[in-house]
């Protein structure tokens, strides 16, 4: 045992879930997505119908440029922070600390799931509703700007942050990669390049905006990467079983 604290570790109380922080973060997140949604509601059918009108450039393209810049900064800041403050003695943390970090990781995943819901359901179907009642004239429609350049990037940021958090702070993820977690994070990331296929397809061979059309199936395939949540959950649960066992309890293998 390298850690000097190890001897007294079991005397410590187990950590609590940081409900306050998770709750506050979720409230802020919902406020942001709610405000965005409100903006979309009041500007889509007014100044969002024609890409070539100057008002579209002011209200939607400027928003697009601003959010892309902010997202890039937030991504670099969050990932940079998590990396710079990584635990260099991750293999010798106390079990209490490891349990606490698991709670934090699960907190990340809860936020990930909230964004998954908002982006994949609410924002995606806003896109469906919009594109079926208006004539599409650009890659940057109000619902595309909201979904692909706000919702999905938010999804990517939180997924990547969870990934980096796990790999810099949890012994189980140290110097190896959880394949299911990598898939979970890769799905939303790959949606961005697939958007290229989508837009190309719409200009090249598919004129309609039918939502279940094959030109959209690339997105479904990437959505399916979330099926790996099962494997990821098993990796977490088996470790938590070990972290919460009493004397006489046995560990449970992952398989």
């Amino acid at each position: 045992m390298k850690n000097a604290n190890a001897v007294t570790a079991n005397a410590e109380l187990p950590p609590a879930v940081p409900w306050g922080r998770i709750g506050a973060f979720l409230v802020a997140l919902l406020a942001l997505f709610g405000a965005y949604r409100y903006y979309q509601h009041v500007t889509s059918f007014t100044v969002g119908l024609d890409y070539f009108e100057p008002e579209f450039q002011i209200y939607w393209m400027n928003l697009l440029y601003a959010q892309l810049a902010i997202e890039a900064v937030v991504f670099c800041a969050v990932i940079g922070y998590l990396w710079m403050t990584r635990d260099r003695n991750v293999m010798s943390i106390t079990p209490q600390e490891e349990l606490r970090r698991h709670y934090v990781l699960l907190g990340f995943v809860v936020v990930f799931a909230v964004i998954a819901y908002l982006a994949a359901s609410l924002y995606t179907e806003a896109d469906a509703a919009w594109h079926q009642v208006t004539v599409r004239d650009t890659d940057f429609t109000p619902t595309h700007i909201a979904l692909f350049y706000f919702g999905i990037p938010a999804f990517i940021i939180i997924g990547s942050a969870a990934f980096v958090y796990a790999h810099t702070r949890l012994p189980q993820f140290h110097e190896r990669v959880s394949m299911p977690m990598a898939l979970l994070v890769a799905g939303p990331i790959m949606i961005m390049p697939n958007l290229g296929f989508n837009e190309w397809g719409h200009t090249f061979f598919y004129a309609e905006e039918l939502f279940a059309a094959p030109v959209h199936w690339g997105f479904v395939l990437l959505g399916w990467s979330a099926f790996a949540a099962g494997g990821f959950l098993i990796q977490i649960i088996t470790r938590l079983i070990s972290l919460s066992k009493l004397e006489g309890d046995t560990d449970v293998a992952e398989a």
């Binding site: 059918f45 100044v47 119908l49 890409y51 209200y59 004539v135 004239d137 004129a207």
Partner: protein, 408 residues
């Protein structure tokens, strides 16, 4: 972060401009495509100001271009007369082409003239740009000229009743909603019973995971007799409810028909009296620096009257010679270049042929993104020419062909 939030809220407030709405993005299409798909003319709206529940009629004529691009599916496959409004701000109570109701799709043949009318009933207050649209299967929407229409009143007053063939009068805004809500909620409740039954056993994840792992092949032992009883009861309830619901609905709505679809065929109309001028293109050039379109045309006037070219329309932009016909823009987005047409060569006498030179010049080439014609892969144009006699009689003829850009 706070600063951004404040800026964001200000942006939202600034954006809440109530009655502003724009055109429908028709400018996004390649110029050549817009020129060579559908020629719309005589587009009119019966009123530009109305209240909720009032109707407005959008009417006019169109000719599918004989120069329709080869690489795009034509309107003679499947097409539908549509209307471009932002969502169901209006309901379409009637639409006709050549007098035939257009509830279904149809075929439109290139070069033929079609007269249409679309009756809309205002539903949502606001200011809208209303366009006729021809939706062409595998090609997409071809958008006609638009007009601003302002709707006043309140959506709460909107009514949309219809009489069914079973004798009921129903309001389409709310019809069947009680039914949908009742059955949806009922199934939610039944589903929740099952979910909550399992949640009462919480914590369920780790304890069950451990237990299942420990039991190995005998993991099924974790299931209690109560679990089985609840499952059996719920299965029976589910199947009975499905059966009951189905027969209840059959009883309640004994007369139903499948969804209706299909293609209708249109009667032709005789417009030969309006098409007594023939034109061939001798030369067509687009002078980029001057934003000027120059055509050299050989015109053969078969009609019994002298005619003058007064209007050249490309992609819904009307270039007009005011000395022949006075057309003024109806509103801020009406694409009329009054004085944008100049013709050298004078009137074409009855029964004679003559060569004329036509210049169409206006900033609309630029603002309406027609200058991008030079980026098209086949550099061809299509246009509709309108010739007028002194007594107001009008002949129209489509021209098209190769177009050469002049760069210097």
């Amino acid at each position: 972060m706070k600063k951004y939030l404040v800026a964001f809220i200000l942006l939202i407030q600034a954006a809440a401009i109530p009655d502003l709405a724009f055109a429908h993005g028709e400018r996004a299409q390649q110029a050549g495509l817009r020129m060579r798909t559908v020629h719309w003319f005589d587009t009119a709206v019966s009123t530009t100001k109305l209240n909720v529940n009032d109707t407005v009629v959008v009417s006019g004529s169109f000719v599918p271009s004989v120069n329709w691009p080869e690489h795009m599916a034509g309107p003679d496959g499947t097409a539908f007369l549509n209307i471009g409004v932002p969502g169901p701000t209006f309901v379409r109570v009637d639409s006709r082409v050549n007098g035939m109701p257009m509830i279904r799709s149809t075929r439109f043949y290139k070069g033929q003239t079609y007269q249409y009318s679309i009756t809309l009933k205002a539903r949502t207050p606001g200011r809208y740009h209303v366009h006729p649209v021809l939706s062409v299967k595998d090609t997409g929407p071809v958008i006609g000229p638009g007009f601003w229409v302002e709707v006043g009143g309140s959506q709460a007053d909107f009514q949309n009743t219809v009489k069914t063939m079973t004798g009921e009068t129903i309001d389409l805004e709310t019809y069947g909603m009680g039914n949908i809500a009742f059955w949806s909620l009922l199934w939610f409740a039944v589903g929740l019973v099952w979910f909550i039954y399992w949640l009462t056993k919480c914590p369920i994840i780790i304890p069950r995971y451990r237990r299942v792992a420990e039991l190995g092949d005998k993991a099924d032992d974790i299931i209690t007799p109560t679990d089985k009883k609840v499952a059996a009861t719920l299965l029976a309830v589910t199947l009975s409810l499905i059966g009951f619901g189905y027969f209840w609905a059959q009883d309640e709505y004994p007369i139903t028909t499948p969804l209706q679809t299909g293609i209708v065929h249109l009667p032709e109309i005789d417009v030969s009296a309006d098409r007594e001028v023939d034109v061939t293109v001798a030369d067509a050039r687009y002078r980029i620096p001057g934003r000027s379109f120059e055509l050299t045309l050989d015109v053969n006037n078969r009609s019994g009257k002298d005619v003058k070219l007064g209007n050249l329309t490309v992609a819904n932009v009307r270039f007009v010679d005011p000395s022949v016909i006075d057309i003024k823009p109806a509103d801020s987005h009406d694409l009329v270049a009054s004085g944008g047409l100049r013709v050298e060569g004078g009137p074409i006498k009855a029964g004679e042929s003559a060569r004329i030179k036509v210049f169409a010049e206006d900033a609309l080439w630029e603002t309406y993104r027609l200058t991008s014609l030079i980026y098209d892969p086949d550099s061809r144009f299509g246009a509709m020419l309108y010739f007028y006699a002194d007594d107001g009689a009008r002949d129209y003829v489509e021209v098209g062909g190769s177009m050469l850009p002049v760069f210097m």
